[in-house]
């Protein structure tokens, strides 16, 4: 029997699971698939309503998950992530005291808070000449988007014989290829300034690769996140998954929960639909971190929005006809506030279940796109739910 079963292996579920396994509890993650993190920039957005991250805190509505966690809790979540990443080959840069800007592949700037070391030098890159290095035939990355938007820029192409970010990343892990690339780079004429490269500098040790290139050409270098497949997102996800496994955590990947067993106010077990015969997993406590619509944590039908695992009550903003807005990606789209409401202990509000906690983007009132609080909220609520769960068990 496990102490805790975490359902969902995204940023929030992983954060909760790492904390619990680190506290010595026997913990497992069940996840139907890989999380949204793998498609993300790998940068941690905390809150961006103008100015510093916490400047916007007071403007959040009462029911926003951040308000339930508190400022201290948000900071704890970020610190936990930074500590984990600091002991990996991909340390993170930044603090809750400031937001920063990173260059995107279309030459715009994205506001975020914590970034992998490989994107550190993106901040302030518009203050000097910027040279973009890309690869002949690389799909979905067009340096002229950047050079046509930003004045003092130029680019060069290297022919690596492959056209995907993943293939390039595999090549950058070979010393021979790295040498070849560096000697090419040293041979071309680049005006004084910084050098940027799409995020392809290997999956495992991108910082080391970046530093080697940087020292060999004597320039400051940084990565630009790409469209998915996104190496920085994968690196973040895999580092957290490994951190969990190093703490003794178990993973069950690739199958959804098919049923749950509840007796009285207690969730006793969940069953996942594995090949051939279902696998039953028992636990003393459960954490629901199945994400929002994009991961299937919430599911919309014509009549309603459902939570498919426990069939928890879902807060839905108004009538269905009000969900329709011209632009889905418009900040403040009502459907962005849909989700599970929780009480101060992060148990589902209005439910009698005593050993179930909820965290991450499945939470109601989060409005992630409007508030730009994606990974930051997953970290903060994941840690908070885990602490509540720990308090109940220990």
């Amino acid at each position: 029997m496990l102490d805790v079963v975490v359902i969902g292996g995204g940023m929030s579920g992983l954060t909760a699971a790492i904390h619990l396994a680190g506290a010595g509890l026997k913990t497992a993650i069940i996840s139907r698939g890989d999380p949204v993190c793998c498609l993300s920039t790998g940068c941690i957005d905390v809150l961006d309503l103008g100015g510093r991250p916490m400047d916007g805190y007071g403007a959040l509505p009462e029911g926003h998950p951040y308000r339930l966690v508190g400022k201290r809790g948000i900071e704890d979540g970020l610190r936990m992530l930074k500590d984990i990443m600091a002991s990996s080959p991909i340390p993170y840069t930044g603090t809750i005291r400031a937001n920063r800007e990173i260059l995107t592949p279309i030459g715009t700037f994205k506001t975020t808070c914590l970034v992998p070391r490989t994107m550190e030098a993106s901040q302030g890159c518009r203050d000097e000449y910027l040279h973009v290095i890309s690869f002949a035939g690389l799909k979905d990355f067009y340096p002229s988007y950047i050079t046509s938007r930003l004045p003092d820029t130029g680019f060069s192409l290297f022919d690596a014989g492959c056209s995907s970010t993943l293939a390039l990343a595999a090549r950058f892990e070979e010393q021979g290829f790295l040498d070849e690339f560096c000697s090419w780079l040293s041979s071309i004429e680049i005006p004084p300034g910084r050098v940027a490269i799409p995020a392809v500098l290997g999956l495992k040790n991108p910082v080391a690769v970046m530093e080697e290139i940087s020292s060999r050409i004597g320039r400051t270098l940084f990565e630009i996140p790409t469209l998915p497949p996104s190496l920085p997102g994968m690196r973040l996800f895999r580092t957290l998954k490994t951190a969990f496994q190093e703490r003794g955590g178990e993973v069950y990947w690739g199958n959804p929960i098919s049923s749950v067993e509840i007796r009285g106010a207690t969730v006793e077990a969940v069953t996942l639909a594995a090949s051939g015969r279902p696998t039953r997993v028992q636990g003393r406590a459960f954490i629901l971190a199945t994400g929002s619509f994009v991961s299937g944590g919430l599911y919309a039908t014509r009549e309603s929005v459902r939570e498919p695992v426990f069939n928890l009550a879902v807060r839905v903003p108004g009538a269905r006809k009000d969900w329709f807005l011209h632009d889905f990606f418009m900040p403040g789209h009502p459907i962005e506030g849909a989700g599970i409401e929780v009480d101060a202990s992060f148990r589902p509000a209005g439910s009698s279940l005593e050993n179930l906690f909820v965290c991450g983007s499945i939470l109601a009132n989060s409005e992630i796109m409007k508030n730009r609080c994606g990974h930051g909220m997953a970290l903060a609520t994941g840690l908070k739910a885990a602490r509540q769960c720990e308090r109940m068990l220990v």
């Binding site: 498609l39 492959c162 056209s163 069950y252």
Partner: protein
């Protein structure tokens, strides 16, 4: 879920080992859901590249929407195989069982013959890669060593070809472990699970094998036996393909009564250990999780047993395909893909600094020991050795594993 549930998020692409090293393969999203919209039954397949998929199933495991990406690709591979003349290597590997059987009957000769330059060049003409040595045959294969023991639970051990013909010593360790917990173990005559034939585009041969096994297994299940497997690829075939694409009579019953041997042993060994350690072994392991164990959705049962062993540390590595993928890497056209993936997986093993690598799959072990230049063991060898080191149990550790482990420990002590 069908191809129509794909949202094109590319998470499957991120997880595809072949895509990152083989430019001729367009990746699981395109080979699976994308191309599926254009595959019409009566039309002859033109997507020859679909054969570059090694069926590691990582795409399907990672898909957040539950799309059966690997199954879609497998069906396309079988359709292609049905409509086109297969290369000789594919025939050879689809029928690997018969060659294995012959090879182990003539073991001394066959082993020598597979080292001859002439054999290698002939195999080369057939499209067989010469990068890795073909596995060695053992004369005393498991089929010959049939025995019954114990009076407890009744268990059929589905050994799979690798343990039967190449590593009967591991097969015997698995059998003895089961017997030591009181199981009555039988190893009735069995044939290839059918996976190599599926992997080589031949549904008919795969089904022929599967029907034979299914008849045998259901007979035993009806008499109250459980089925256990040690090879995780055979396991996945029994659990997923027998009731699925192979659709054999009794397929569902087999899937419902079949267990991974370490999942089966875990509660039994736990009871035996009575809350204390199961055994002792001062060793650090890199546990390479075979892709097909991952795809089974049962967690990593051997790792739970390792936790009961004093002195053992274990790093779990579940992000890499070893690249051999059964018979895939033995084909010349896949040789370079297999080599590069082997190097990536081996590097991950070496990065852990572990003494030795462990994997539940014979193909992974061959590949990893070749590229990581270290011994690769089966979990049964570790568990047996740890239990032998416990004074209260006098079971003898033996064989290859013991020698390897002793060497490692001597090196550690002198370091």
């Amino acid at each position: 879920m069908t191809f129509e549930h794909c949202t094109r998020c590319t998470i499957c692409v991120e997880n595809c080992p072949v895509y990152k090293v083989e430019p001729r393969f367009p990746g699981p999203k395109q080979a699976g859901p994308d191309a599926q919209r254009f595959r019409l039954d009566p039309e002859k397949s033109v997507d020859e590249w679909v054969k570059y998929c090694c069926q590691c199933r990582r795409c399907q495991v990672s898909c957040p929407y539950g799309v059966d990406v690997a199954d879609i690709i497998l069906k396309a591979q079988l359709k292609y195989g049905r409509e086109h003349l297969s290369p000789l290597a594919a025939h050879l590997f689809a029928n690997a069982y018969h060659f294995n059987k012959l090879g182990s009957t003539l073991a001394p000769l066959a082993n020598r013959a597979s080292d001859w330059p002439l054999t290698k060049s002939v195999l080369g003409l057939f499209g067989v890669s010469r990068e890795l040595d073909l596995p060695e045959f053992r004369f005393v294969n498991l089929e010959r060593g049939r025995r019954r023991m114990g009076r407890g639970r009744k268990v059929v051990f589905f050994t799979g070809c690798h343990l039967a013909f190449n590593r009967p010593d591991i097969g015997r360790k698995v059998r003895d472990l089961l017997a030591s917990t009181g199981c009555r173990v039988v190893m009735p005559a069995q044939t290839c699970c059918g996976l190599p034939a599926l992997g080589n585009g031949d549904l008919d041969i795969a089904r022929k094998f599967a029907l034979k096994n299914a008849a045998m297994l259901t007979r035993y299940i009806d008499k109250g036996f459980d089925v256990v497997y040690a090879c995780t690829s055979c396991g996945l075939t029994l659990m997923h393909d027998y009731p699925g694409i192979l659709d054999v009579p009794g397929g569902r019953k087999i899937a419902e009564n079949t267990y991974n041997v370490y999942a089966y042993l875990f509660p039994l060994l736990q009871a035996e250990a009575e809350g204390g350690p199961l055994g002792t072994l001062e060793l650090s392991l890199a546990y390479h999780i075979p892709c097909h164990l991952r795809a089974l959705g049962i967690g990593y049962p051997a790792a739970r047993i390792f936790e009961m062993i004093e002195g053992l540390t274990c790093s779990i590595l579940d992000d890499n395909c070893c690249g051999l993928a059964g018979t895939y890497g033995f084909k010349k056209r896949n040789q370079e893909t297999s080599r590069r993936l082997g190097l990536i997986a081996a590097q991950a093993v070496r990065d852990t600094g572990a003494d030795t690598v462990v994997a539940d799959c014979g193909a992974c072990r061959m590949q990893l020991s070749h590229y990581a230049l270290m011994p690769a063991l089966d979990p049964a060898e570790i568990i047996t050795q740890a239990m032998a080191n416990t004074p209260k149990r006098s079971r003898a550790g033996s064989g290859i594993a013991q020698k390897i482990l002793q060497t490692i420990q001597m090196k550690r002590r002198s370091a």
